[in-house]
Amino acid sequence: MPDVPIERHTLDNGLRVILSRDPSAPIVAVNLWYDVGSKHEKLGKTGFAHLFEHMMFQGTATVDKGQHFSLIQAAGGTLNATTWLDRTNYFETMPAHELELALWLEADRMANLLPAMTQEKLDNQRDVVKNERRWSVDNQPYGSWDEKMQALVYPDGHPYHHSTIGSMEDLSAASLDDVREFFATYYAPNNAVLTVAGGFETDAALRMIERHFGPIPRNATLPGPPDMTVEASIGRQLRETVPDQVPLPRIYLAHRAPVFGSDAFDALDVAADVLGSGRASWLYAGLIREQRLAQDASAFVFPITGGASMFVLWVTARPGVSVETLEKALIAEIDRLASDGPSEGDLNRVRNLRAAQTAGMLERIGERADRLSMYGCLFDAPELINSEVSRYRAIGPDRVRDAMRASIHDRNRLTLTYVPAEAAS
């Protein structure tokens, strides 16, 4: 695979800039990662980082409410933003000749958000976010899994103890003062990474970036990261059963795991693929096709950086299959990987799948920009984008086995089981 080109700059105000030029592209991506996520929220303010992200679309001293979207869309661009545990990202993909519009809008809201902020806008977006929560969590079968899992895997008071969407009660409590304080604290150029990828001329792009972002003052009193310290292992087996409006039981297993960026995390990423990626994966072949115990199955790692990440699996029971039988069969596959490790055939399979998936991801200029921002923001190392596949390929069976043995066992396991509500009562 050819390397993604990378050029790095830092403005005087601390904004880190990553350029990745593709001279033939008719489009360009602008992507901004702020080093702030739900892990930075204070007690009683869960969900605020995400609510704040919504406020960034509500207009500024310069741009009226609604205009941020309409200017981008009328230019033929697409845009969005997401918030997660470690970070918040904002992004646009534009026809190449409208690069400066996207840069201007991002710089404008980094600089000029507060004068246009009103209680009415906050109340409106609070209602929208509460409906987002109802739609994705409260009114959704199994919808509370992530929230419950984080609350049980991380101790009370740990920044990952609560999920990004937050509680209704805390969303109700969010105030304009919170908006002002959060903005003043975290939305500063020296707390962000800006990536521009695709069709642009380097000198012209740098001039635009300097013109729009250069005058924004840094925050000289940027707080350090929250204390993320946590034991590497849960230390015991946790169990919780959740009665829900679901026809079929589903088991979630969650384990504390080494953080994203570590060698052991990469090994567990491979392990998750051996177990859960494709129809030749162990869970699909074993639990779905051969034993016919499960309707579906999945395994994945959470790419998060503070203290401990998570290694998660879930399986849904077929009707008539008890959760005990299913859990036993699931754990048998996990334990087999921890005791025997994967075969060279398993590794060959997941390596080639990952190579194709990575090539597919990098076809999209917006994804390319997002990954560059991610590696820039989390590790100050955007060049990691170019060693993803080789790092994955370098992981042999012993590393997978050792990483499984170290972390994926029953003294470090939450078993969260959703059961049909009527069956539970």
């Binding site: 695979m1 033939s24 008719p26 310069t62 409410k65 609604g66 205009q67 979207f69 309409s70 869309q73 009328a74 230019a75 033929g76 661009g77 026809p95 190449a96 000749h97 409208e98 400066e100 519009l101 840069l103 201007w104 409106n124 609070r126 209602d127 929208v128 409906n131 987002e132 109802r134 739609w135 009114n139 959704q140 012209a204 409006q245 679901v246 026809p247 079929l248 494709g278 129809r279 030749a280 699909y284 072949a285 779905i288 096709r289 016919r292 309707q295 849904t316 077929r318 055939g345 060959n348 080639n352 799948l353 990952r354 190579a355 194709a356 998936q357 090539a359 076809e363 999209r364 200029i365």
Partner: protein, 447 residues
């Protein structure tokens, strides 16, 4: 406000050129070679969608499509999965109303092996009884799961309540629990034998390949594929046209899923482009009227939208939103008011220009990936749209004027005939829906 930065000179973009070849077997081959790509996407389309089913076998198209990836005469399910995935290939196979599609995306170096395996899968699938029984059970379980999901429950209920008895579009293309339960592997074998044929089939390649070499591989693997198909049914999309409310009771819901609509257009409708622009303005983009009103002004929902679903025959026009339970009737009034407004008044020139500019400007963003380009040729293959469809697409959008949008809104948005379907907690919303007097109300249990 200060002026937005000026745009620089646009970089011209053309939808990539493609070549078409007709094999003696009847299979059409569409080649889009893209020199700078690493990946190639391969889509094989056959006239084996749900429209090609007999109604008594509803769901056989979907099950047969899924069954194909469970092995060939030579390779069993496990071996087929291993063999493809070791090349980094995840083979997909699925069906819609108007076609079935099997395909994959691979690094260019694996194209030959991938096409060979795809051809083997299509021409000599294993169609194993045990795997059929497993997939059938999984399909029935999925229907069970879908009815616990408020959005999917609303989508399925809307179709059932909208289309008249006997119209296939009344159900999901993958079938109903009753029809799926009756299917056997013999049905799948018969469906495969008569529908997976080269006649009316299309093989689309987009990405990293050399056309002559790819064509030689295709000739070698599919040149002697034979068979004539039975074709597909002509569906008569009759619907009810009386305005009414159906409340599907889902106790405990904290939101109501709203679906409001009626019969829409088919894929050959002459009003396709004005309808596309009108639907985008009303509910197809973030800044659309429905989303601005229900979300950005009222905060009733995380998002409101509308769309047409054009097929060979007319699919539905549907406006939808998930709203908090307390505002169910208010949200419906607001949604219906937007349907009235787009009929009553001409759209503003600024809002229309914005939507047109979006659809024209976003054009190159839609074709970033090889899968996006291969997918873009599918409607040309399935519906016989002209070869210059994408070359003229932007002009046709640009040509849609205020009067066109207004005329098409008056024709194609008919709130007086709308089915208003609500999935929510009847104990919370029934009274307010009765008081709102938006139409006769029927309350039914979730199936």
């Amino acid at each position: 406000m200060i002026a937005r930065p000026a745009a620089t000179a646009p970089r011209p973009y053309r939808f990539p050129d493609f070549e078409r070849h007709q094999l003696d077997s009847g299979l059409s081959v569409w080649l889009v070679p893209l020199a700078d790509r690493e990946l190639v996407s391969v889509h094989l389309l056959t006239d084996a969608g749900a429209a090609a089913e007999e109604e008594r076998n509803a769901g056989i198209a979907a099950l047969t499509a899924q069954l194909l990836v469970t092995g060939t005469e030579r390779l069993d399910a496990a071996e087929f999965a291993e063999t493809t995935e070791r090349l980094g290939i995840e083979v997909s196979s699925e069906s819609s109303w108007d076609s079935a599609r099997a395909g994959f995306v691979a690094l260019g170096e694996h194209l030959d092996a991938g096409v060979s395996l795809l051809a083997e899968m299509i021409r000599s699938p294993r169609l194993d009884t045990g795997e059929f029984d497993r997939l059938k059970a999984e399909r029935l379980n999925d229907i069970l799961q879908s009815r616990a999901d408020p959005g999917r429950l609303a989508d399925e209920s809307f179709l059932r309540e909208l289309y008249a008895e006997g119209v296939p579009y009344r159900r999901l293309s993958a079938g109903s629990p009753e029809s799926v339960a009756a299917l056997t592997v013999a049905d799948a074998k018969a469906f495969h034998a008569t529908r997976y044929v080269p006649q009316a089939g299309h093989l689309i390649l987009a990405g990293a390949f050399e056309p002559a070499a790819a064509l030689a591989t295709i000739e070698r693997r599919l040149g002697d594929w034979t068979g004539e198909g039975k074709g597909h049914r002509q569906i008569e999309p009759r619907t009810r046209v009386d305005r009414r409310i159906v409340l599907v009771d889902r106790p405990g819901s904290v939101q109501s899923e709203l679906r409001v609509g009626h019969l829409g257009i088919d894929r050959h409708d002459a009003r396709f482009f004005p309808a596309l622009v009108m639907a985008a303005l009303l509910g197809g983009v973030f800044g659309s009227r429905l989303n601005l009103r229900l979300r950005e002004e009222l905060g009733y929902t995380y998002g409101a939208r509308c769309s047409f679903d054009p097929r060979r025959a007319a699919g539905p026009f549907t406006a939808s939103a998930a709203v908090q339970t307390e505002v169910t009737a208010d949200a419906l009034r607001e949604l219906l008011a937007q349907l009235d407004r787009i009929r009553d008044d001409e759209p503003g020139d600024v809002e229309l220009a914005e939507v047109r500019d979006f659809l024209v400007g976003v054009f190159p963003l839609r074709f970033e990936t090889t899968a996006g380009i291969a997918g873009a040729l599918e409607p040309l293959a399935v519906y016989g749209l002209p070869d210059d469809y994408w070359q003229t697409y932007r002009e046709r959008i640009e040509a849609v004027g205020i009067a066109d949008v207004h005329a098409v809104a008056r024709d194609l948005v008919r709130p007086d005939e709308a089915l208003i379907l609500v999935t929510g907690d009847a104990s919370q919303v029934r009274r307010e829906l009765e008081d709102a007097a938006l139409g006769p109300l029927e309350v039914i249990a979730a199936t």
